[in-house]
Amino acid sequence: MKNLITKRLMYTLATTYIVLSVASCVEEENCSQYGRESLTCNVYTLEDSKAVKDTLDSLHVTALGTDSIILNREAKVRSFSLPLRYTSDTTTFVLKYINNIKDTIRVIHTNTPKFISMDCGYQVSQVVEKVSYTKHQLDSIYISDEEANTTGTENLKLFY
């Protein structure tokens, strides 16, 4: 009888342990993939009608209408990211080159806030609809991917 009670007690304790252990197996959510999206721009030049990666010296990029500096006279810029506005469907950037010549890039885009989870909060999905620009030093812009991303996937090819 004593043996039976001991076995039942052991069973109860083991079961309680198992349930509490499994209940604690809550997988933590990885929110790092849900950061702020931006447009990745790569610099190109045309050589014999072929796109070849290029660099820009002392590139200064600012956000029009704010005092935000996105790129501060960076040397040998091959690639850079442009964050789009959440609260407007138009975002304008001013690019200032080493010779003080300026170009303006105007991006028209959509903003769709999406709830990810209680732990990760929201993410705003942004899709480029149209890009217009000045051609003081810039030659042309090709949209290679409309969807802004967090992975560094190329969105715009800037040709000089």
Binding site: K7, I18, V19, A23, N30, P113, I116, S117
Partner: protein, 260 residues
């Protein structure tokens, strides 16, 4: 950098728990073993063959109610659910089962203003395989599988706080544009979602008094397909738990074997 280590520990913790679950059932089932444990000789094996129990195809219907979903909520869990299961004993080996339940979540984010609300029914169908099918007692140690589905509506909102005295309102703290300034409002109600999933199940069922039993199951659930809104992921899926590719689940049931 700590997360992969923690996840590894949690995964190993799960498998250790599963092994302990199976081992812990052993003392219970040993209660129904015969007291005489002499090595089986030829005569014994012949006698065993003569005494071998042949179970009929139909051995009864069991109705169970899950209490873990209710208890979990009372102990501070985010979700509440109630569930009823019906399974049929075929040859004391196969137990086809249907589980029907109702799950609900109504949660405010702890350190933010997000409010998530959802409630919907769900169902699962599947089969348990009793590994102790040679025993005549109503004690089962089983493994099994389920296919589950749920179709649900959900509301997600973060409404800006209105100033009751001075005109104006605060911005939405959860979608503040840190670079350009300003914030986006967010309020989406009546979003529609659905999900199907597959479960691997391990569990025990023991007789506590006559036709009354209790049982635990531990489940690993895997999403097979889902349909969600473009504006929001579901946070809670009734019957599955937190939305994701896989999830753990537990049930604790009180079970009654119908007298026919």
């Amino acid at each position: 950098m700590k997360k992969p280590i923690l996840q590894g520990l949690k995964i190993s913790n799960f498998f250790i728990s599963l092994i302990v679950l199976l081992l812990s059932a052993q003392p219970l089932f040993s209660q129904v073993q015969p007291a005489n444990k002499r090595p089986a000789g030829k005569a014994d094996s012949k006698k065993k063959d003569e005494n071998k129990v042949v179970f009929p195809l139909y051995n009864g219907v069991y109705v169970g109610a899950d209490l873990f979903g209710l208890g979990n909520s009372l102990l501070g869990g985010d979700f509440i659910s109630s569930e009823v299961s019906i399974d049929v004993n075929l040859k004391n080996k196969f137990f086809p089962v249907v589980e029907v339940g109702y799950g609900k979540a109504d949660k405010w984010q702890d350190d933010g203003g997000i409010h998530y609300k959802s409630s919907a029914p769900y169902f699962r169908v599947g089969m348990n395989f009793n590994t102790m099918y040679k025993k005549q007692r109503e004690n089962h140690l089983f493994v099994g599988f389920r296919y589950g589905a749920s179709s649900f509506n959900y509301d997600v909102e973060t409404t800006p706080l209105q100033d009751p005295i001075w005109p104006g309102q605060t911005s939405n703290p959860d979608i503040v544009d840190g670079i350009w300034g300003g914030s986006l409002p967010y309020r989406h109600t009546g979003l529609k979602g659905s999900m199907q999933w597959f479960e691997l199940v391990a569990g025990v069922r023991v007789q506590i008094f006559k036709d009354f039993m209790m049982g635990w199951t531990v489940r690993k659930k895997y999403k097979t397909s889902s349909s969600i809104s473009e504006y929001a992921n579901p946070w809670y899926v009734p019957g599955f738990g937190k939305y994701g590719d896989s999830q753990m689940g537990i049930t604790y049931s009180l079970i009654y074997k119908l007298p026919f």
